[in-house]
């Protein structure tokens, strides 16, 4: 950046979060906490049927209810607002119409049909009961493998089948490698449908000011900028008159990386009514109509030599995409294809991907988004291969890892891993867990009739999205750094944190850059009125891409400050050091000027060096040259009670290499939370639709996200292999835990039960399912 950087003092320190005082005292403002005068309340009538023709909708009684302002249906806004957008552009992608309120036909339970606006949220709910919809039920299909068979009920008749897209990928000569293989190991894996369930449901508040024609929308979103651009186009307000604010956002995990029908309809209503309109999602709506995640079926086989070398992988994936596309729906399973060889040097690959339309809510990005599925496939099949070959699961991994000096490494699917040392992370994890002792204990316990298992997962993931060629709408990030007249620093970022804590970690980065106190820095995010262009927070990109943007911008400001300070001190700008709120000549700290004095001089502007403009502000748009590829090794030790099917997690060790670490406290938080969601998938969670397309798991009573008693203590550690892709050397940590932990846990449980001949148990590994697998195995079958 600038010539002389001060010594690093805050980067790497476990600084406690600056966000917390407001959050622990109930002083923060999520969307529903924002109260505007004369706000009207919106509710949505949603389809009770998974597939039906709407014969008629009668809204008269609802409109007559005192307090109801208006009721609209799809026909009322047809042609007046644009469709719910899909940003994916795959070859041959069939894109259906996607009106914000359905017209003519509904295709999943929960699809919005009508919107009520009333003076009070209770009245708005009452009015829903007064709307009469006459449905004619149609046949439904919820099983993606049945959906792509000929003769299945069609989600969109105009498409002729339920295949939304296909994506083949081939590298090398897989068929030849299989012909020469010593062993072929195969499996069918199910990555069940998950419901993200951020604790704050979605919410939208929109205000239109007819005087200046401006629209302001507060939304619980991860992507305020994308929402701003899209909403402007959809409701026909020029982009520069639309402001989207993501206030405090209560978690998202990918589920708020979207443009939803409610955001469109509430904005439209605010414009029509010239009053603020608010909609707050109910948990039931969150279950049925906020995007779902995962939902893939994978048929996989690998070709293996006697020494454990994996020469080829073939796979067929059926991805259940639901009844419509949300913003990135079709792209998510394509990431599975890209990452399907994991961290192994498999040169020959042949994979097929089919996107299946079904009468369910759309799937889209949920923490990990396509990479947990890839990791599950490769980490399960590699462990199965080890079993089949009689190898230790660690040895087959070491056998197929690339060597550290081979990075940057182009892999068969065409992407280039930035940096890596997979041996180091696995060795460290094995050491922490005392692997050899654990294996010895396992052998001993097996003698005693106890079923202990050790599961490994060595993963690599793709994140820090990313070069713009790989991200719809752009993969860059913007930042503006401004040193105010008093020396206070304002950083405006295009990323949109919603729990990650970057008001703290970004301030650490900027504090080190300027040598100023963290309390003199403010990080502003989530407001397109203050930072007009940006991309947002998803895909573990915020620090690698957004953090870099602000480092570069800060460097530009710093260079100017050095020039002004040098002018004031009659020194050489290249010799100056920024530290402790001062700018001084390196080696002679007496020759110093206050950081704040230079800031003041830049703004009073009476004594500036020649050719220097007033002000201290720089904006940078950073475009990364590549993605980053965090990696690591997780090890789980479990004991399974074969009488009850219960799984006791005794150890969970995570060694994650996420490049350089800005704040280890926050990194720990991300790792823990990620593992918790991965264990949720492995052990408890699963969205279940019945054959009629009714969601059977639509409450927290039926859909089990982990509670405090469900989870063990996690042992988190790291190796550090900096990324060469950005000057901070960071990779990203938001998704690593989720990506690694599901196969790790399944590998552990299958390992525990392998003496019974069990080779696979599908997730979620509920006690009932495990118990059933044990019974089947005992009866001579194979779990």
């Amino acid at each position: 950046m600038t010539a002389v950087a001060g010594p690093s003092r805050m980067i790497g320190a476990p600084i406690k979060r600056r966000e917390d005082p407001r959050l622990i005292q109930g002083l923060s403002h999520y969307v529903d906490d924002i109260k505007l005068v004369d706000t009207l309340h919106c509710t949505f009538l949603r389809s009770d049927y998974a597939h039906a023709e709407i014969k008629s909708i009668d809204t008269a009684a609802a409109k007559d209810l005192p307090g109801v302002v208006t009721v609209i249906t799809g026909k009322d806004i047809e042609g007046k607002v644009g469709d719910v957008p899909c940003g994916a552009d795959l070859p041959g992608l069939k894109v259906p119409d996607h009106p914000a309120l359905s017209i003519g036909r509904v295709r999943f339970v929960g699809e919005p049909i009508a919107a009520v606006v009333a003076t009070d949220s209770y009245i708005a709910r009452d009015a829903l009961d007064l709307i009469e919809v006459d449905y004619e039920e149609l046949p439904t299909v919820v099983d993606p493998e049945k959906a792509i068979e000929a003769g299945s009920p069609l989600i969109y008749e105009e498409f002729g089948d339920n295949i939304g897209f296909t994506m083949p990928l081939e590298a090398g000569d897989a068929d030849a490698a299989f012909a020469e293989a010593d062993h072929v190991v195969s499996g069918r894996f199910v990555n069940q449908r998950l419901i993200p369930n951020a604790m704050e449901p979605r919410g939208v508040l929109a205000q239109y000011l007819p005087g200046d024609g401006s629209l302001t929308v507060w939304s619980s979103t991860q992507v305020p900028h994308g929402l701003k651009t899209n909403l402007g186009l959809i409701v026909d307000i020029p982009e520069h008159l639309v402001r989207v604010i993501a206030p405090e956002v209560g978690g998202a995990f990918g589920s708020k990386l979207n443009v939803y029908p409610e955001e469109i309809v509430v904005s439209y209503l605010a414009i029509q009514l010239c009053k603020p309109v608010k909609w707050i999602e109910k948990r039931t709506e969150n279950f049925t109509t906020t995007i779902h995640g995962r939902d893939q079926i994978n048929y996989v086989e690998i070709a293996v030599k006697n020494d454990g070398t994996i020469t080829a992988l073939r796979a067929k994936t059926i991805a259940d995409i639901g009844a419509s596309y949300q913003l990135l729906t079709p792209l998510i399973p394509t990431l599975t294809n890209l990452m399907i060889v994991g961290g192994y040097k498999i040169q020959n690959v042949k994979v097929e991907l089919i996107g299946a339309l079904t009468n369910k809510m759309a799937t889209d990005a949920y923490r990990g988004a396509g990479r947990p599925e890839a990791t599950y496939i490769i980490e399960r099949i590699v462990s199965m291969a080890a079993k089949q070959l009689g190898m230790d699961p660690k040895d087959i991994r070491f056998k197929n890892f690339p060597q550290p000096e081979e990075f940057p490494l182009e892999i068969a699917t065409g992407i280039t891993f930035d940096s890596g040392n997979y041996q180091a992370s696995l060795n460290k994890a094995l050491e922490i867990v005392n692997y050899d002792e654990q294996r010895a204990q396992q052998a001993e316990l097996r003698q005693q009739g106890k079923y202990m298992g050790i599961g490994l997962c060595t993963y690599v993931e793709i994140c820090a999205f990313g070069p713009s060629a790989g991200v719809p709408g752009g993969g860059w990030e913007s930042a503006t750094v401004r040193v105010e007249r008093t020396g206070k620093v304002t950083v405006l970022s295009g990323v949109s944190p919603h729990g990650q804590g970057q008001e703290t970690s970004f301030a650490q980065i900027i504090g080190d850059e300027f040598g100023v106190d963290i309390d003199d820095i403010i990080i502003v995010h989530g407001d397109t009125g203050r930072q007009p262009q940006g991309i947002g927070t998803f895909g573990s990109r915020a620090t690698a891409v957004g953090g870099t943007a602000m480092v570069v911008a800060a460097g530009q400001v710093k260079e100017k400050m050095a020039k002004i300070a040098a002018h004031l001190m009659e020194a050489n700008p290249d010799d100056l050091v920024f530290e402790n709120g001062q700018i001084f000549v390196g080696g002679s700290p007496d020759q110093a000027v206050e950081f704040a004095t230079v800031a003041g001089e830049a703004h009073t502007a009476a004594n500036l060096p020649p050719d220097t403009d007033p002000g201290l502000e720089a904006t940078h748009f950073f475009e990364p040259s590549n993605f980053t590829f965090p990696f690591g090794a997780h090890v789980a030790v479990v004991e399974v009670d074969i009488d009850t099917g219960e799984i006791d997690i005794q150890r969970y060790v995570a060694v994650d290499d996420i490049g350089n670490i800005i704040n280890p406290l926050l990194v720990n938080g991300q790792v823990h939370g990620g593992i918790a969601q991965g264990l949720g998938q492995a052990l408890y969670e699963g969205a279940v639709y019945d054959e009629n397309g009714q969601l059977l798991t639509g409450t927290f009573m039926d859909y089990a996200i982990p509670k405090a008693t469900h989870l063990p203590r996690f042992e988190s550690d790291h190796t550090v292999t900096p990324s060469p892709v950005n000057p901070l050397g960071v990779k990203g940590v938001g998704e690593a835990g989720t990506i690694a932990s599901t196969p790790c846990m399944v590998n552990a449980v299958v390992d525990a039960l392998s003496p019974l001949g069990i080779t696979q148990i599908d997730m979620p590994m509920t006690p009932n399912r495990v118990w059933q697998a044990i019974q089947d195995a005992k009866e001579g079958g194979n779990g």
Partner: protein, 164 residues
């Protein structure tokens, strides 16, 4: 049904309002009284984001009617810090990184408050069981457990000092 007048004391302050008999207590606190630190996460008393203290008992305020709180003494998250000093539980959550998005946090802190009132020196298992009615999607709970342990130790320490 006719509206009813209710009297409450919330965080030490008296309130009198006329409310619809069907109004939920959480909506009364958030929308009528204007204390928005208490959150609504599920409306079915499963997630615990709306947990508050009513007459000394931790209650999920999304499944209690405002009229049922007539005459009650209520404490919400906004009432926990005293004279600008964070309560040890709040301090613990801050020190131990016991929160990320913060949405479950007010309810989690109130649940921990009740837990420590009943059991000032809980084991890790007892903490996990005591918080079983409160869901967190961000943290994996470990740092929340650490936060409650931090608070327990700190509160224990101040009790011992008082006894001396």
């Amino acid at each position: 049904m006719a509206n009813q007048v209710i009297h409450t004391a919330i965080n030490g302050q008296e309130h009198t309002h006329e409310v619809e008999p069907r109004m939920l207590l959480v909506h009364y606190i958030r929308d009528v009284v204007g204390l928005t630190g208490t959150h609504v996460g599920c409306e079915t008393s499963l997630c615990g984001a709306c947990t508050i203290m009513v007459d000394g008992q931790a209650v999920k305020s999304c499944t209690m009617l405002a009229v049922q709180a007539d005459g009650a003494e209520i404490m919400t998250i906004e009432g926990l810090a005293q004279n600008g000093e964070l309560h040890p539980i709040q301090e613990g959550f801050w020190e131990c990184h016991g929160l990320q998005c913060g949405f479950c946090t007010p309810g989690m802190i109130i649940a921990a408050h009740q837990l420590l009132q009943r059991n000032p020196n809980p084991s890790e298992d007892e903490i996990r069981h005591g918080l079983d009615g409160n869901l967190c999607r961000c943290t994996g709970y470990q740092h929340i457990v650490d936060a409650v342990q931090y608070a327990a130790e700190k509160m224990q320490g101040s009790r011992e000092r008082k006894e001396v």
